[in-house]
Every structure is written in structure tokens, then in C-alpha cells.
């Protein structure tokens, strides 16, 4: 009887893993099969033509690149500094706990809410308009909690003996943070940052009202211009396309490109993490 229960248990576990793996695999295979027909160099390097029924997705790739770069430029320094403060200076006071709970909750807020927030604050209040800048800032706020948490964990994993050695040599707290803690925590911080670039690149809702446009004939000349972006391009082709027989395949091609980009970004993060583990000897 006990043996039977064990067999049942193991089967259940195996089955779960199998289902998880299968659904991931079928997603990738499905998107690849559907998308790969339209994939070509010109698809990557050309502007869309003839009401999006022909041509490529070059401006959307550039737009996604600009938006996620802008997001990380804004969120990385802010997030790392906030994490340093929370970990090294704030101590265990009550309001620090409240801030930390707030940050964790921010990570759970639906992304469309960030989009609305971005529309109200960056687009309207600050007057940045629907633009790369507004979209980057909105995405930046979206990934901020991830970056703060990853940085806090990375800072936490710096052995206290390193800090002690620095203090014992007469270093100030700031010197210790800048020259010992941050360099040691850097690979961990970077891993978190790169993973969140992938996250930012794939989000649709936050840029829906703040940055993205259905079609533009130019790349943005300044941060105050709107852009095309990969996730929004898919959304637009599916919902607003008038000739689905041409546009749906392009949407799948775009999805495949986005998927590959996110995989590539995550792969870089994995490599950094792997090299960090190998180098780490304390």
C-alpha cells in the first residue's frame, strides 16, 4: 500500500514536469513553425510596406531596443542605489519594512496599471507626450522592483568578512560600499538587470498608451517621438489588421523575433551567472 502511494506520488511529479515542459516546448515550436516562414534578413531590416501586408519590422526592433535600453538606463542606477540604501544604511526600522513591502507589492501590480500611470504622469503631467521617453520611464518603473530585489540579494551575498577587512583598514562605509561591496555584488546585479531587460522588451501594456504607435515611416529623431515596438506590433496586426491573410503570418514572425531576442538576453544573463559561480571562491 505504501509502495503504491509512492508510485502514485512519483507519477504525479513526473507528470507535472512533463506537462510544464510540453507546454513550453509546444509554445516555442508553434511560434517557430508559424513565424519562420516570413523570417528573412529583409524582414529584419526593412520598414513595413503596403498597409503592413509586406515588408519587415525594422522600426519595431529599433523601437523595442530603444525602449528597453531607456528603461534600464533609468531603473538600474536608481534601483541599485535604492538597494544599497535599504541594505546598508536603513537598518531594521519600521518604515524600512513598510517600504520593502511596498516594493514587493509593486512587483505584483498588473502592467496595464503601470501603463495608465505612465499616461497620467509622464505623458500628461510632465508633458513628454506619447514618446520613447515616456515609455522608457514607465517600463523603468515596472522593472524597478525586480532590479531592487536582485541588487539587494546580490549585496546580501557579499561576505561580511570582506566588509570587516575594509573597515579594519580605515575605510569609510561609503568607500567600503563603492570599492568592495558593489564590485563583489556586480555580477548578481547585472544578471538581475539583464533579465529585466528581457521583461521590459516583452511588455505591451505599459507602452500601449505611453510610447507605441501602429505605424511610422521614420525612426524616432528624438526621445520625444513615438515609436513602433515588437509586442505592440503583434497586438496591432492581430486586432487592427484589415488583411489577415498577409498580416497574421507577419505577426507570428514578429513574435518569433521577440521570443528569440528575449531568449538571447536571458542567455547572456545565464552566461554571466555561470561565470560568476565558477570564479567565486569564497
Amino acid at each position: 500500500m505504501r509502495r503504491l502511494k509512492q508510485t502514485f506520488g512519483f507519477t504525479l511529479l513526473r507528470l507535472s514536469v512533463f506537462i510544464v515542459f510540453l507546454s513550453l516546448l509546444s509554445l516555442v515550436v508553434f511560434i517557430s513553425l508559424k513565424g519562420f516562414k516570413v523570417l528573412s534578413l529583409s524582414f529584419l531590416l526593412e520598414f513595413p510596406r503596403r498597409g503592413m501586408t509586406k515588408g519587415g519590422i525594422f522600426p519595431a526592433i529599433i523601437g523595442t531596443f530603444l525602449l528597453s535600453t531607456g528603461a534600464i538606463l533609468f531603473a538600474l542606477p536608481l534601483g541599485v542605489l535604492a538597494a544599497v540604501y535599504l541594505k546598508e544604511y536603513a537598518g531594521a526600522r519600521k518604515w524600512v519594512k513598510i517600504i520593502r513591502i511596498g516594493i514587493n507589492n509593486l512587483a505584483g501590480v498588473p502592467s496595464v496599471v503601470f501603463g495608465l500611470f505612465g499616461l497620467a504622469i509622464f505623458v500628461k503631467l510632465f508633458g513628454f507626450g506619447v514618446s520613447v521617453l515616456s515609455g522608457s520611464l514607465t517600463l523603468g518603473i515596472l522593472i524597478l522592483p525586480v532590479i531592487i530585489r536582485a541588487s539587494e540579494e546580490a549585496i546580501n551575498s557579499v561576505p561580511s568578512s570582506f566588509k570587516e577587512a575594509s573597515f579594519a583598514l580605515g575605510a569609510t562605509k561609503w568607500q567600503t560600499i563603492r570599492k568592495v561591496v558593489l564590485p563583489t555584488a556586480l555580477p548578481g546585479i547585472l544578471t538581475g538587470a539583464i533579465l529585466s531587460i528581457g521583461r521590459a522588451a516583452g511588455e505591451t501594456a505599459p507602452i500601449l498608451f505611453t510610447a507605441a504607435t501602429f505605424y511610422t515611416r521614420h525612426l524616432p529623431e528624438s526621445p520625444f517621438r513615438e515609436v513602433m515596438a515588437l509586442p505592440y506590433h503583434i497586438y496591432a496586426l492581430i486586432t487592427e489588421g484589415t488583411k489577415p491573410e498577409f498580416q497574421v503570418p507577419i505577426a507570428y514572425g514578429t513574435a518569433l523575433v521577440l521570443l528569440l531576442l528575449v531568449f538571447a538576453v536571458n542567455f547572456v544573463a545565464i552566461i554571466i551567472r555561470f561565470r560568476m559561480r565558477r570564479k567565486r571562491k569564497w
Binding site: E164, A165, S166, F167, A168, G170, A171, T172
Partner: protein
Amino acid sequence: MVNKIVIKDLNLCFAKNHVLKNIDISIPEKLITAIMGPSGCGKSTFLRCLNRMNDLIKRTKISGSVLIDEKDIYSDSIDIFDLRKKVGMVFQKPNPFPKSIFENVAYGLKIHGTKDKGTISEKVEKALRDANLWDEVKDRLSSSAFDLSGGQQQRLCIARALAVEPEIVLFDEPASALDPISSSKLEELLEELKKNYTIVIVTHNLQQAARISDWTAFLMLGELVEFNKTEKIFTAPQDKRTENYLTGKFG
């Protein structure tokens, strides 16, 4: 004999724990003073009073006076960063930074404002020579400190402490994580260092204390039981508790 460190009526509490009780002791200049005693007697805490490393621990209360060169290091006019430059420290487990060998030794110089590259490499070389490590690492200064053996890492930590030219060096059981050969190399090194530095070493290795120190203090439950020349402590201890400890009745 000049007393480099003079401590009067030193008391220290961590929260409600009274860790050090009414300690009076004068530590002689350019000699080795060993602090020994059973685990938990406050040896390391005592050592950390001398470079104010206990300041980093919350809810620490300290009273009494610690004079170094006749100046109270707990007075408000003392710059704690200069104090720690003057009173270096080597820890129980080797704790080099995850940087190159060179950068480890140069770290202290840089944080104290030395910018000139020539000066830095000169002082790094001197510190490594003084720590008996130069010949072993001179060809690979840019490789990681973690490529060194445990004993070499500990000598690197000593070089790192020496580079900022301290007057006092505190050792907190520096050999306890080392094999016997590395440990004896370290002891030789300490013998040489005392020509130029005042050394205070915490140890619970009695033989080590007997071999290398000139003066020995015996601490128990936060009290200074006995402090005397090492040969006197080991041959004719005045206090029954010291004798019991040395003869292995407890430990």
C-alpha cells in the same frame, strides 16, 4: 620598556551581556602580547576594542579608557579612520578581497588617498616583502588572491594591513585556520614583525602563546585574571585559575 597601549577600567556590554569587566592592562611597545583564555571569554571582543571594530555592532556600550600613545581612542576628537590605519588587524580566517594580489595590498593605500602609482607599487612591494610573501607572488601580482593557498592568503592579509604603515597590529587567532607548516611560517613572521610593530595576538593555542609572546594575559569570563611576562605565566602562574587552565583542567 614603553607602554604603547594603556587600558583602564574597561567595561563592555553587548545589549545585556557584560562581556568585559574592569580590565586594566598596559601593553608594551614593539613586543608580542598574547591574549589567551577559554572560548567565549571575551578575547576577540577585547582585541576589537583596540581599533574600535566593536563600534560596528549595535547596542554596544563601552566605558573606561583605552589610551594609545597617551591619547584616548574613544574621545570625540579621535578620527576613527585614522585610528584604524594606525592599528591594523588580521582576522581569524584569511579574508582577502576578491581582487588581484596587488590590488589587495594597494587597497589601504588608495582609500587613504595615495594616488601616485610609483609610490603605491613601492609600498606594495615593501609590504609583501615584510610579510614574507614577495618571493612567492612577485611574478603573479595580477592574479586573483584566491589562487593563493590558505597560509599565503593569511600572509597577504598581513601585507595588506602592513601597507598602510600601522604602529600596532592586532591578530585574532591568525593561525587557527592554517595547517602546521603555514602556521609555523606565520610565527616566524610575527617574530620579525615585532622589531617594528607592537603586536597583540589572541590565541587559544597555549603552545603558540608560549613560543612567540613576550607577555601573556589570561582572560576568563570577561575578567583579566593574570597578566605577566610569558615565562612567568607559564612557569609560575599566580592565580589558581590560570594554573588550572594551563594544566588542562578546563579549556
